[in-house]
């Protein structure tokens, strides 16, 4: 596993991070390594990306706030679909993740 990221590879109580299959995701076109089962937002934070979207009016950045799918601060456009809560949506190999502006636009009809 790659070690120069923000993942907790060793934990005094939880032990070593189990080995998992690597997948690639694309953040605004940039290829990033993620691990199978990881949530999109967690994979982005692990790569040092915390500004996930910009607000409609004041163009302010937003990131993870609740991490359990309740606040919608982490929504992004995933595979062409806007407003996906990335803290509760796992990565898939080849997934395209884009930082969303405002309410976002639909680019694709279904998942």
């Amino acid at each position: 596993m790659k070690k120069n990221d923000l993942r907790i590879y060793d934990h005094p109580i939880l032990g070593k991070l189990p080995e998992k299959k690597r997948v690639s995701i694309y953040f605004n076109g940039r290829k990033l390594i993620a691990y199978e089962g990881e949530m999109i937002a967690a994979a982005l934070y692990a790569n040092g990306i915390r500004a996930l979207r910009k607000t409609e009016k004041f163009k302010q950045t937003r990131g993870i706030f609740c991490a359990i799918g309740r606040c919608t601060d982490c929504v992004m456009t995933v595979g062409g679909i806007p407003n996906i809560r990335t803290c509760v949506t796992p990565v898939r190999n080849g997934m395209k993740v884009e930082s969303q502006k405002g309410r976002g636009r639909w680019k694709k009809k279904n998942w």
Partner: protein, 364 residues
């Protein structure tokens, strides 16, 4: 439309315990949770539980979670994961998006709402910047997702959640620069405070946050002591070099589904705010709609489990038209054992008030 005897919304400790009790009495149970894994908030609780001797004290939340899952599986309850309940309609019908794909309605003889809670935010200049998050959110990031949301942190709030999560941040390798608390005293248990003090983390009392600063993300926190009237003493403002600010300002019940079902509420500050009225069997003012865990007032994982059991038994009684009074009494006694001490006592009184108000509304 599908039909089930009992639909449980939320597979946290409350929902899972209810499912186990109801399955033991052969009730046909469906558990729905929007997460990919069951367990609710339990799997982020890597600390040992304290509390009454006979009940799981000394065991870590994660271990308890694994035991519950094992039992649910053994008893063969149906579980729909990755599935969100979006509404409760008349006559106990739940609307569910199953596996994020299909809209399914399920008709039930009873519905248990055990949807948990949401963290309270507090607002200050810059509080929307990435890097400001709930303490529970940080706990989820480090203990479940195993990712550091920042490297240098400030914790706001010295209640139990603030203290426990600050310690877990240290365990994960985050440098905790300080814990601040607006009240003049530490609100959580001293054992937790002592643990972080041993790491050299200062706890500043009578202190608040004025601002999270940074361009696109948190780069610093501006903190300031307050006077007796909680007004900031601005000339003693100080800046902390942090990239993570966690807010531990309590939780409130997730009430949307209960509202939609038409349940009546009452305001109980010691239980986190507006709480659905319920009786000693965890039934709300709407016939056949039950509530348990954080949804029936914020307490702890241990009480959530007992309330879930109580609801599970009471629901089986209602569906089977039988009585299991002894079993319910045992659970109620354990709940009373938990509701002791400074926090527990207040919650116990609030719970009694809720029951009284319930019977004022529902005359039978």
């Amino acid at each position: 439309m599908e039909e089930k005897e009992l639909v449980i919304i939320g597979a946290g400790p409350a929902g899972l315990c209810a499912a186990i009790e109801a399955r033991k009495k052969n009730i046909d149970v469906l558990i729905i949770d929007e997460n990919i894994k069951p367990g609710g908030q339990l799997f982020k609780q890597i600390h040992r539980f304290f509390g009454s001797k006979q009940h799981m004290a000394g065991i870590r939340g994660i271990t308890i979670g694994e035991k519950l899952l094992e039992e649910v599986e053994k008893l063969q309850a149906n579980v729909w994961l990755d599935s969100t309940a979006y509404g409760i309609f008349g006559n106990r019908i739940a609307g569910v998006i199953k596996s994020r794909k299909k809209n399914v309605t399920v008709k039930a003889k009873a519905i248990l709402i055990a949807a948990g809670a949401v963290e309270n935010p507090i607002s200050f200049e810059g509080w929307t910047l990435p890097g400001v998050m709930g303490a529970g959110a940080c706990q989820t990031m480090i203990n479940i997702h195993r990712v550091l949301p920042g490297k240098k942190a400030l914790m706001i709030g010295a209640g139990n959640v603030g203290l426990i999560v600050a310690y877990q941040m240290l365990q994960a390798g985050i440098e905790v620069k300080a814990v601040i608390e607006i009240m003049p005293k530490i609100n959580g248990y001293m054992v937790h405070a002592a643990k972080i003090k041993r790491f050299g983390v200062p706890i500043f009392l009578s202190t608040t946050i004025l601002e999270a600063s940074g361009k696109n993300e948190v780069e610093a926190a501006v903190i300031c002591p307050v006077d007796q009237d909680y007004k900031p003493i601005l000339k003693r403002t100080k800046s902390l070099d942090v990239d993570l600010i966690c807010i531990a300002a309590g939780l409130q019940p997730l009430n949307e589904l209960l509202c939609q079902a038409g349940c009546q509420f009452t305001y109980k500050p010691y239980l986190g705010g507006n709480v659905a009225l319920h009786n000693e069997n965890m039934e709300t003012t709407i016939d056949g709609i039950f509530v348990a865990g954080d949804c029936s007032g914020i307490e702890e994982a241990s009480t959530a489990m007992e309330e879930g059991k109580l609801a599970g038994i009471a629901i089986a009684e209602k569906i089977r038209k039988r009585k299991w009074d002894d079993e319910k009494l045992e659970v109620r006694n354990r709940l009373n054992d938990f509701r002791i001490g400074t926090f527990g006592e207040k919650r116990k009184i609030s719970k009694m008030e809720i029951e009284k108000e319930y019977y004022e509304k529902v005359k039978n």
